[in-house]
Amino acid sequence: MATEARPEQPPARASRLGLLWESAIGKKALMAATGVVLFLYVFFHMLGNLQIFMGPGQLDRYARLLHASPQLLWTVRAFLLCALAIHVVAGVQLDLSAREARPVRYQELRSTHSSTASRTMIWSGLLILAFVVYHLLDLTVGVANPGFREGEVYHNVLVTFGRGVGVLAYVVAMVALGFHLWHGVWSLFQSLGLSSRRVTPGLQRFAAAVAVILTLGFSSIPMAVLIGILRP
C-alpha cells in the first residue's frame, strides 16, 4: 500500500478540540459552549444575590456556605475563569479577523433587519470584561471598596451602592449584559447547529426574556439601595 513517496511520519494529529479552536465555526461553537457555562453561572449568581432582600443574616450565611469548602470554591473559580478566558480570546480573535475581512469600508451600509445587540457583541462583551475586573476588586478582593470587611457581604454591598459611581457602574454593566444575552442566548443555538426556522422564534423570545430578567434582577439591588429599601 505504501509507496516510496510516502513520508515516514504520519501527519501531526491535532486534538479534536484544537481543531475546533483553529476554525472559525469551531471557535464559535466553543464560544457558545463557554457562553452557556457563563450564562448559567450568571443566572444562579443572580438568584443568590436576590437573597439580600431576605436580610443581612441570610446573605452572609449564604456567602459562608459558598466558602465552606475551599477546594470546591477554587475548582469552580478555575473552571469559570477558563471558560471566560476561552470566550474572551475567541471573541477578540474573531472580531479582529472580521475587521480584516472588509478592509475597505462602505460609504453606506444600511442595516435592514438586525438588532443593535447583535452588531455590538464585542463592545457589550468588553464592557462586561471591564466590569468583571472591577467587580472582583470591589466585592471579592476588596481593594476597590472603601469600607471592605472580609465575610460581611451585606455590609460591603451597601458600601458600594452607597456611592453614585457604584450604582452607575453596576447598572451600566447589567444593561450591557442584557444586550449581550439578548442576542447571545439565541445565537449560541445557531452556532451549535441546534436552531431551525421552527424553533428560532421561540429561542429569540426566550433570549429576550432571560436578558430582561437578568438585567432587572441584578439591577434591583443597587436600585433598592438607592431608594432606601435596603439600609445598612
Binding site: 475546533l20 483553529e22 472588509r102 444600511r110 435592514t112 445557531q190 447547529g193 436552531s195
Partner: protein, 267 residues
C-alpha cells in the same frame, strides 16, 4: 423621471477609486435598473467617456451575475429580488442614488461595480459535489426522499451565488452561501457519502478566502434575493462540529486552494 447617480468608479484593482456624480435626465419608470444604467452608458460612450462597468447576464434574477449596493442596500430597496429585477418605479423623480460595489477582502474590485467572486467558485470546488455511480442510469424512483427534505434542499439550491449575503454582512461572512450549498447537498441521500467531509472542506476554504465568521446577525438572509433561510448556517455548523469531533481523518483539514498571494495572482 430624472435620476442622479453617485457611482463608484475604479479603473482597476490597484486604483483607489472614488464616487463620480452622473445625471440621467430621461428615465422611464418601466425601465429596469440595469436598463437605466445602459442608458447612462450609451451617453457616456457618445461623449467618449469610459462606460460604467457592472456585471449582468440573464437580467431576470436567475444567474447571480448582477449586484451592487443602492444607497446602502445590496440589490437595492426591493428585498428578495436582484438589482436586475428591480424597476425604476421603485424610485422617485429627482432621487440621488449611491451605487457601491460589494466590499470584502475576498471580493476584490475588478473595475467600477464589478468584483471578482471566484472565491465562491473555489468554495464550491472544495466540496460542492456528490459522487455518482457511473454505468447504466438507475431507476428514477429507487431512492426515496422525504418531501420536507426535498423541499428544504430545493430551497437551499435556489442560491444563485450573487454574493449579496457577503456584501450585507458586517463581518463579510460567506456563511449563508456556504451553508446553502452544504444544505442543498447534505439534505439529500445522494449527498450523504461526502457530507461530513464537505462541511469541513467548504468551510475551511471559505476561511482561507478571507471571509469573516458568522455572528448570527441575519442581514444576509434579509437581503438574499433567493430567500435562503438562516437555518442553513445552523445546518452547516452542526455538520462541521460533528465532522470535526468524530471525523476519521488523521490530518488537520487544509484549504483545497491556498490563499492567493499578495499580488492577486497564482495559487
Amino acid at each position: 423621471m430624472r435620476i442622479v447617480l453617485d457611482i463608484w468608479r475604479q479603473r482597476g484593482p490597484r486604483d483607489p477609486g472614488r464616487f463620480v456624480r452622473y445625471e440621467v435626465p430621461d428615465v422611464s419608470e418601466h425601465m429596469s435598473f440595469l436598463e437605466m444604467l445602459d442608458v447612462l452608458n450609451v451617453g457616456l460612450v457618445e461623449r467618449g467617456d469610459d462606460p460604467v462597468a457592472f456585471d449582468s447576464d440573464c437580467r431576470e434574477g436567475i444567474c447571480g451575475m448582477c449586484g451592487f449596493l443602492v444607497n446602502g442596500d445590496p440589490h437595492g430597496p426591493t428585498h428578495h429580488a436582484t438589482i436586475c429585477q428591480t424597476h425604476m418605479r421603485h424610485f422617485a423623480d429627482g432621487d440621488t442614488l449611491r451605487l457601491e460595489p460589494w466590499r470584502a477582502a475576498a471580493f476584490p474590485v475588478i473595475k467600477d461595480l464589478v468584483v471578482d467572486r471566484s472565491a465562491f467558485d473555489r468554495i464550491i470546488a472544495a466540496g460542492g459535489y456528490v459522487t455518482i455511480r457511473t454505468g447504466s442510469a438507475p431507476e428514477a424512483n429507487a431512492i426515496l426522499v422525504p418531501k420536507t427534505d426535498a423541499d428544504r434542499a430545493m430551497e437551499a439550491a435556489a442560491c444563485i451565488g450573487c454574493g449579496a449575503c457577503v456584501a450585507a454582512c458586517p463581518n463579510a461572512s460567506a456563511a449563508l452561501f456556504t451553508g446553502a450549498k452544504i444544505s442543498h447537498l447534505g439534505l439529500l441521500p445522494q449527498g450523504q457519502p461526502e457530507r461530513a467531509r464537505r462541511a469541513v472542506t467548504m468551510a475551511v476554504q471559505a476561511r482561507e478566502e478571507g471571509f469573516g465568521h458568522c455572528t448570527s446577525i441575519g442581514e444576509c438572509a434579509a437581503v438574499c434575493p433567493a430567500s435562503i433561510q438562516l437555518e442553513v448556517i445552523a445546518r452547516m455548523n452542526r455538520d462541521f462540529v460533528k465532522a470535526t469531533l468524530t471525523g476519521r481523518d488523521e490530518a488537520a483539514p487544509v484549504a483545497v486552494f491556498p490563499r492567493r498571494g499578495p499580488a492577486g495572482g497564482g495559487g
